[in-house]
Amino acid sequence: MYEEYSSEHKEFIRKEKVTNNAVMISRIIILVALFALWEVAAEMRWIDPFIMSQPSRIVKTMVNLSKDGSLFLHTGVTIYETIIGFVSGTILGTLVAIVLWWSSFTARVLDPYLVVLNALPKTALGPIILVWVGGTTGSIIVMALLLSIIVTILNVYQSFKSCDEDKIKLLKTFGATKIQILRKVVFPSSIPEIISTLKINVGLSLVGVIVGEFLVSKAGLGHLIIYGGQVFKMDLVMTSVIILAIAAALMYLSVAWIEKKFVKMR
């Protein structure tokens, strides 16, 4: 591990590092420049800060919101609902995929329904869910679940089906039952696919949560955005959007991190 590398190799490593740093610095410059430009443009009245908001106002809003704790409340609510949404969507979707794998008859019967449900923009069902479940957190979670479950079913079922026939045959020669085949090979070999679906579901579930919060509008970043829009507080809207972007990125990165840990473990 710790052997001496040749100077040629060291030079290669050094160049790689220089490029990596340049990429990182460029990214930061873009971000800073954008915000600086925005600030200056608003300050000079090239744009109307009342409509476009302004970084310094956003910072002020953030400080005010965190003083009374409502920032953490709303962010927390959104994150909580999203996590429940994508975890339950992934688990339930995987369970349905198992049922479909178990009975290819059921899979064939349900195929067209799944295709239609997959194509349907699930957010269109929002008002229906609101009426059926009521204006509660329940509605929001159902919305998030609905968005992620169909994709999960399709992806995971596909992955179950593409499990190597010869591996299954091998277990069959040992006399494996169907449940043993599922437990010993079909499910374990699909775990990477399930985790990558989990990653997709973070984004989908977040869409469901925000739409749900728009409709239910009691708490959460979606509620803040809708509320800010209604009372024309663009600072509040922009602040919420930025926090949402950060929260989304953090959730995605955590799942990606779990995935990496998992892949390494195997």
């Binding site: 190597d164 010869d166 591996k167 045959k169 091998l170 277990l171 069959k172 020669t173 040992f174 006399g175 494996a176 043993q180 010993k184 090979v185 374990p188 070999s189 775990i191 195997r266």
Partner: protein, 256 residues
Amino acid sequence: MDKVVELKNVTMNYHTLEGETQAIKNLSLDIRRGEFVSIVGPSGCGKSTLLSLISGLIKSSTGEILINNEPVVGLASNVGYMPQRDHLFEWLTILRNTTIGLEIQKKLNKDTLRNAERLLEEYGLGEFKYYYPKQLSGGMRQRAALIRTLAVNPEILLLDEPFSSLDYQTRLAISEEIWLIIKKEKKTAILVTHDIAEAVSMSDRIIVLTRRPGEVKSEHDIQLTTCENKTPIICREAPEFRIYFNKIWKELDVHV
């Protein structure tokens, strides 16, 4: 003569929506205890089908298959199957991989586990038992796959082109090793291969099949004059080796 496996007028038809395929037609053969038999034949002539039939994975359309004079109903219990690729499970250690058959048959206990460990020790994988398959070379993986088959202690081994995914040198070395293991564990073996040299060097007998639908075209008892420590690699030096090779090559009638 002690017959372990006996096929009597076996025919196998596959049915799909596209049509009916006759894979094997009216095939009869006997395998004697402790024998090493190779089956060669043109591509798609039903060799893998033949092994699936013997293992009881699929049922023949007509005809009879006997193992130890008992007809095969359902899965044959004393048959071990070794596929073309090793199919080790990447998420299990080598030890867990080699005991997967025992686990499935709910026979995993102290004794059987110790036996699997003994096999790993004996055949040079002892220090790798907690490694994952991807940390092993192709030859080592193939050996682990054989041990997985041996761990459930089958009487008859069915090997379906077990070396074809290996490069030539590994293939020579590993076929030698696996042959020695099979002889040492006193198993009856049926090997399907495309490699005539491999078949001649390893087998007591070679069965040549016709094009699909597969029938027995000819059988060859392989008798090579070598010193007493006969192994596949030494067999390749025998003067008769080339004669058998050419004879079978002509019978396979390969048109390119």
